[in-house]
Symmetry: C2
Subunit: 275 residues, 2 copies
């Protein structure tokens, strides 16, 4: 696996690779979920590129940008093992040189749920992914369903701006007790970690209630009680899978989505209800 730090370098390096080219953008601190993205890309594409970049513009003030786990060496070994051909891992000064000021914003979809809690988050995501797509120029972009709203934002970005790329959403990888893999799971204490799987349990409960005909608010009321005492709800809802507009009743394709805080660590999870 070749490792690149500069834009012109990575462009030249990728130009020589056979097509189609798959691309897996990450913030590093890689877990089995990321590697599932890389392996899926490996299966579907002739070449695979990945990026490791902890993007400052998608963190708000007081969020965990500074302490976000970083291990580029370990990440590189994992990506190489998963069959990635090229890794792009730029410094922030490469991505955001002095005078940088352009933003890309998908609108309402980026302002609800995670976007309501983190007002500039999805603008930061859409902007950095626009840059990465222009630098890497892949044929297929691989993203994880765990960040369902992010995946919806990126699908909308690609559709609205006509990026010449296909977005492939890869199912969430879970721990044996159902907890969705996340780099932020590393922040959890032992007690918080034990309670954190109840987030997924609550989503399953909510989905069952919805399938039994309950409306969203009644289903959420019941499902909220399933969260272990270690956690505090941010939101629990059922939304249109494309727009993230809240649904009164289950109408596929939809996501049952939830966010909860375990101590100072905020986790999100979802279940896709296919049409």
């Amino acid at each position: 696996m070749r490792i690149f730090h500069a834009v012109e370098q990575v462009r030249a390096g990728l130009a020589a690779l056979p097509r189609p080219l798959g691309f897996v953008p990450t913030m590093g601190a890689l877990h089995a979920g990321h590697l599932q993205l890389a392996r899926t890309a490996r299966q579907q594409c002739a070449s695979v590129a990945a990026s490791v970049f902890v993007n400052p513009t998608q963190f708000g003030p007081g969020e965990d940008f500074e302490r976000y786990p970083r291990d580029v060496q370990g990440d590189a070994e994992k990506l190489s093992g998963a069959g990635v051909d090229a890794l792009f891992t730029p410094d922030a000064a490469v991505m955001y040189p002095p005078g940088f000021s352009t933003i890309v914003d998908v609108g309402a979809l980026g302002a609800v749920y995670e976007g309501a809690v983190r007002p500039t988050h999805f603008r930061g995501v859409a902007t950095v992914v626009s840059k990465l797509l222009h630098i890497v120029q892949p044929d297929v972009l691989f993203v994880g369903q765990k960040d369902a709203q992010q995946s919806a934002v990126l699908k909308k970005l690609v559709r609205d701006l006509d990026f010449p790329v296909r977005v492939e959403v890869v199912p969430t990888v879970r721990e044996s007790d159902g907890l969705a893999m996340s780099s932020r799971n590393a922040y959890l204490s032992r007690e918080q970690r034990a309670g954190a799987s109840s987030l997924h349990g609550s989503l399953e409960c909510m989905l069952e209630e919805l399938r039994n005909g309950a409306d969203a608010s009644r289903a959420a009321q019941h499902a909220r009680a399933q969260l272990d005492a270690a956690g505090v709800w941010d939101y629990l809802d059922v939304v249109d899978a494309q727009t993230f507009e809240p649904l009164q009743h289950l109408r596929a394709p939809a996501f049952v989505i939830g966010a909860a805080r375990f101590g100072s660590t905020r986790l999100i999870d979802n279940i896709l209800v296919s049409a």
Copy 2:
């Protein structure tokens, strides 16, 4: 010359053309300035694509979107004559289908001068050009120096978002009396047309004063008086060529820029002062 109306069509059509591919985006109503862009592209590139699209999102409320001159048939003949290989001329519904909501904004550069008078103009320009670049995927983007701030916005867009394209700014084509070619010159009455060349004359006067050591406000004071009574000033200034920040004294690279109204028609012009 082949003519395309749909995104997938034009992508397939352009994929077969030899590289490098030059691209000339226009709003139609083509004049000698546009054809100079097409001919320059023809000289520099193996293939040339152009677009004709009167982009609604770069017009504000009460501006001239409805009455903007349209003549796609005539435009196609002119482009073909200038050596263009492919023309993309989509309907608004192709570019902005229901649910479209994404914007691209370059920040401060898009908020001054033309951006101050037309608050959503450069956001509309940056967004539609992002889409067109993703659809056409050219190697070189040809834009006119007449719209100097627009050219600066597009250079910044390309630089900030790492678009894999080079921006080539082509010098302004003028009528024999110095009036810059513009599709909006068609709106002028005979009297307004006679007075409109004084806009360029004022810019030349301003530049001469600046070269003689006058500061910007004194130079502008003298130069403003050169405008024919047919016109009313919007602004007259000297700015950094990249940021469009106002300069006190001439410091190349700079633009001397001006905007004036002749009746209800607003015209802009500029002179580039190279380093």
